[in-house]
Amino acid sequence: MLEIRNLHARVADKEILRGLDLTVNAGEVHAIMGPNGSGKSSLAHVLAGRPGYTVSAGEVLYRGQNLLEMSPELRAREGVFLAFQYPVEISGVSNAYFLKAALNAIRKHRGLPELDAIDFLSLAKEKARVVEIDEALVKRSVNEGFSGGEKKRNEIFQMAILDPRFAILDETDSGLDIDALQVVARGINQLRDRERAMLVVTHYQRLLNYIVPDFVHVLMEGRIVKSGGKEMALELEAKGYAWLEKEPAAAAK
């Protein structure tokens, strides 16, 4: 589904990704771990098309297409979804209106009929139940006045509605207490299936107790230095990242 080859990216004059390789297949959940500043969030943003990053070398193929040439909205319409680490508050735009506009843009792109308000609201109701989000939040302004947990749940709610093929979860666990984390993880697990791939970016192993990945990669200084199975997360938790700095970069998967 996703193939990243020798990806180099920079913000302003700073090189953040320095030759990253990664392959993700449909149905797989990959975890990207690494210390602060290793480039985890930058990878998530580059894949979603956030302006401000310059890709200086390498390529990203998404379902056989050049992902890097696509606008952010086209990526979303093709099935890429980024759950933000810091979801944005948008005062004056209701969650429901925003999501209906997004869903219909995606449906239109895929040749499906647009949903009217009634059909959309019944879909929203159903998905709100799946990800355990209070229905009242659907009608409120996007993320405005939401608690940290509500914002993260709202990201997963959006993911449930938009039904992406490839979801990137950027530090979805940050700022959540253990109860909120479990709710969010349950929502994410409900959305796992054989067709959908996920890239879970996290600093801590904790989240991976609840969202068990198929593969774990360690990102350091803009490259993947080690890849392994889910048990590697525990090893990292016990030993930290420092011991990896001495190891030669290992090819990803």
């Binding site: 098309g49 606008s71 979801p87 948008i90 005062s91 004056g92 735009v93 209701s94 209106y97 843009a105």
Partner: protein
């Protein structure tokens, strides 16, 4: 002789003709008032950009244009009135077409305690009544356009909300310009609002006109709020895009009164609104809320003055501007706290959104504090759409143009949302969605 001097001579001749014809039946006090006002105007002339209050707003083109009084009343159907954007609010409605009262379009009677009368009727039937009230609040010393209005107004409205009355529906005054004939026309709307003790009312003033015609609206509204009165004033400035609109709204507040002004400046090539508020008793509250949306070459200017002349009053001001194309916005807000106005609580905020590189906003929030035990703050921000929010919307599949429209609407919607009349909120939403780029509505 300079062109401006010629202009003044033309206006002097016009004033002499006016006093001998249309205003010949005026009571002596009104004649004196008009003459004094015209003299003040003559002494000063039209403002120039050398005047501190008019630094950003050049009215030279207006001053050079020879405006005539429209000579014929245009036939307007009720449907045409609605099509032009005057929303039926169900309550009393006074319609003026080219400055002339349109009886067939108006509804004035029917609500106990709410008296809506033509200014001309009051001046003719009770010539002494208004002597103590008219032209008391709007200063023709400060603003030459107020002087011109006082000199030249023909008609208008007097609205009185009786003591203790709660007006059940908003009272609407609609000023329509049709600009008949080939010459630029002028009208001088004049409103006097008397909110008696403990009364409660909402007043809507709508200004509409055809999009291509050059005309001038020079309006003055004076609102007196007696002790405990609550008055909400909503101004919809939706003039045609070639029009000039200059207006003053003056409000004086008695003890414990509450005045709220909602101001939407959407039309006109050049629009200038002055809001002059004054607390004349303790414990009053004042809210000034405004939104201007400029496109093309429009210049939209609001100057507000909030005068904390008495202790223990509260004022809140929020003005937002959206400017696109090569349009310009001006916000100048002065909050004065006088020496004895202790326990004043004042907040002022101006936020502007620039949608193009050529658009510009001059923002001048000012606090002038002479008392020491007060809570005052003010702020001003001008910027573009938040790129992070824009990316957030796009990352969900929403196209760039639609995302920009949504964020722009979101910026404006705060002020629309605070309008207490549902029918007006809906109308504003529709109107703004046609003005803002890609601006869809937010209701799902």
């Amino acid at each position: 002789m300079s062109p401006v001097a010629e202009e003044k001579d033309v206006l002097r001749a016009e004033f002499e003709r006016f006093t001998q014809e249309l205003a010949r039946a005026d009571a002596p006090w009104l004649r004196e008032l008009r003459t004094a006002a015209f003299t003040r105007f003559s002494e000063r002339g039209f403002p120039t950009t050398r005047d501190e209050q008019w630094r950003e707003t050049n009215v030279a083109k207006l001053a050079r244009t020879l405006f005539v009084r429209p000579d014929a009343t245009a036939e307007i159907t009720p449907e045409a009135l609605r099509r032009l954007g005057v929303v039926d609010l169900g309550g009393p409605e006074v319609v003026f077409v080219n400055g002339r009262f349109a009886a067939e379009l108006s509804r004035t009677g029917g609500t106990a305690g709410v008296t809506v009368r033509r200014l001309r009727d009051v001046l003719e039937s009770e010539p002494g009544t208004l002597e103590a009230q008219l032209a008391r609040l709007a200063s023709d010393q400060r603003n030459p356009f107020v002087a011109l209005n006082t000199a030249f107004f023909e008609d208008g409205v007097v609205i009185e909300i009786a003591s203790g009355t709660q007006a059940p529906q908003p009272v609407q005054i609609a000023w329509l310009s049709t600009s008949p004939g080939s010459k630029p026309t002028v009208c001088y709307p004049r409103s006097l609002i008397l909110a008696r003790r403990g009364s409660q009312a909402t007043l809507v003033e709508s200004y509409v006109g055809p999009s291509a015609a050059v005309y001038l609206t020079n309006a003055v509204s004076e609102a007196l709020l007696e002790d405990g009165a609550r008055l909400t004033h909503i101004k919809l400035q939706c003039e045609g895009l070639a029009a000039f609109h200059v207006a003053t709204l003056a409000a004086q507040q008695g003890r414990d009164s509450v005045f709220t002004s909602h101001h939407f400046a959407l039309g006109s090539a050049l629009a200038r609104t002055d809001i002059d508020q004054r607390f004349d008793g303790e414990g009053g509250e004042c809210q000034l809320l405004g939104l201007f949306v400029g496109r093309g070459e429009q210049l939209l200017d609001t100057h507000s003055r909030i005068d904390h002349a008495k202790p223990r009053c509260l004022s809140r001001e929020l003005y937002k501007g959206i400017v696109d194309g090569r349009s310009r916005g001006v916000f100048n807000g002065l909050v004065t706290v006088r020496k004895d106005a202790q326990k004043t609580d004042a907040q002022q905020s101006n936020k502007n959104l620039l949608l193009s590189r050529e658009a510009l906003v001059h923002s001048t929030p000012q606090l002038e504090i002479l008392a020491d035990d007060v809570k005052c703050k003010h702020g001003s921000t001008t910027g573009q759409l938040d790129p992070v929010a824009l990316f957030y919307l796009r990352s969900r599949g929403i196209g760039e143009a639609q995302a920009k429209g949504l964020l722009t609407w979101a910026f404006a919607s705060e002020l629309v949302g605070r309008v207490p009349v549902a029918a007006l909120r809906a109308a504003l939403e529709t109107q703004l969605s046609s003005l803002l780029p890609g601006g869809p509505r937010t209701q799902a």
